[in-house]
Amino acid sequence: MVSPVLLIVIPLGLAFCVPLIGMVSKRFARFVPVVACLFNLVVSVQLLPAVLSKPIVVDLGGFGAPFSINLFVGPVGILFSLLIALAGFVVSLYALAYIDKGPTTRYHTLYLLLLVGATGVVLTGDVFNLFVFFEILCISSYVLVAYRGDKDGVESAVKYLIQGALGSALLLTGIGLLYGLFGTLNMAHIAVQAGSADPIPLFVAMALIVVGLGVEAAIFPLNAWLPDAHSSAPSSISAILSGIAIEVGLYAVVRMVFTVFGASSMLSFLMFLGVLTLLVGELCAFAQSNIKRMLAYSSIGQIGLIIFAIAIATSGSITGGFFQLVSHTLSKALLFLAAGYMIYRSGSMDISSLEGMGKRMPLTAFAFAVGAFSLVGLPPFAGFPSKLLIIRGALADGGALLALLVGLVLLGTVIEGAYFFRVIQTVFFKKGDGETARCEAPAIALVSMFVLVALIIVIGVYPSLIIGVLNSAASELLVRADYIGRVLG
């Protein structure tokens, strides 16, 4: 069996090869991310059956946990690494055509580093290692947001940098406190001792860490950077930021709260925060006239929904939350990719300028519609089973409060439907006054979009394909003792 270390080492090595290859041939360098993501995809799929039967713990350096850094490749880790590799692969295909101007070699290096950071965060079993990979993820995304070098890009990148750096500083302070309390940085080792620790310093550490990670996860009210950053980045990067980066932030929050701290008292707070994030995101998205800002706010709403589902902390609702995460990654990446070329052709990000796009670029507009319908939760797309599972999981518990919150979540979905249908109407049913000539997106970009379309429909029709992985992921989060036992043996 291949070692899971390869999931980090190979893309990292290839990321550093990109500048060297770029010196020989710039055209060749852009294929490196495709190769790296394909490699990760294959390795993740290969590891999947073994991981589902028993999580793999990899010690680095050969000292054994808790003395060495270890990777914990459980169902959650492999689910995320699969998603990252898949989204990374599709977006890197799209970027072959889309990223043609500017310092392209640097783009590909940073893009790979971003994916390495994300993969590292989801696989590591060490808090400080998590911080390091988190910084790799964040710093490469700061730079990529400013890729075009225009005023908007630089301004939002600086905004993102300031808030992100503040978040990282809080995170690092929290980790320092944890190290002071327990003298260890291994997640499982901290988890063992967390129950008997002094509650107040432990709470302070947890608050610092959750707030620090919450900036990247875009939990309300820490999400002011997101609409700017996601809308002024190149569309391929918006797709990765919305589809991968904030999900990885969310993973880190969930892993800390569930596994490291085992803080069940925190969950109801997170639940409210989730619903609040959802409503704020959806309401702001409704008010936007800029399509990319609308999509960015919709990401905030979706993250709120996922947090709500996971914070209910029953096996059914966490499965639903992870399902929603998968469907959000696929749909939002698709939406940004499709919107990218529609914006490129119309020359403006205004929703009204997309009039008549259904005639001018029918395939791209179709892909956009599939993404939008999936995100709203229409059958037979992936968003339908995920929202159904979340609502079933939430109502299974029975409380009146949960029923009220579910009502609010449904209200959020209605708002979401309203603004997406408005865009669909503009794209398909309004006649643009401008050109009507066909100008479809390049073939390679269409291929990458239709891979996502196919996945969304297949998962929507056969949700049982991924339910098994999601169920084991849910039980990994809920059964903390199992995680600890596997690592410390």
């Binding site: 080492v9 680095l60 350096g61 050969g62």
Partner: protein, 151 residues
Amino acid sequence: MKGMTLIVKTITDFVVGFIVVFGAYIVLYGHLTPGGGFAGGVIIACAFILLMLAHGKDVAYSKLSEKAAHVLDSAGALAFLLIGWFGVTAGFFFMNTFGRGEAFRLLSSGMILPLNIAIAFKVGSSLFLVFSALAVFRRRSFRAMIEDELA
């Protein structure tokens, strides 16, 4: 005349060599005394940054061109990963499989010394590139500001 005054230039020319040697010492003895690849790499980068400050970028680039710095940057990182990968032959990534040598001697502690050297190349060249990027960016943005004022 580009760069700073003759006094600064003369002193710089005099100390630059010593700074590089000191940096190399910190790198090579990182496993025996305080220091290591990162600290030594920073010191070596400082020598080139000093050259750039005193003489201007042309002289600094003639000693270490931007392209060479990029190559060293990537090569250092790749070397680090490769050395780490040697550990896999004994079962674990980053396992110290090289010969340990005699304690307190230069050639001891297995892969720590090669790792330190790799890090020194990576950190030294990146820091030099960061500095030169900031210098170029500042000049460029200053020029853009003036052009905005005139327009």
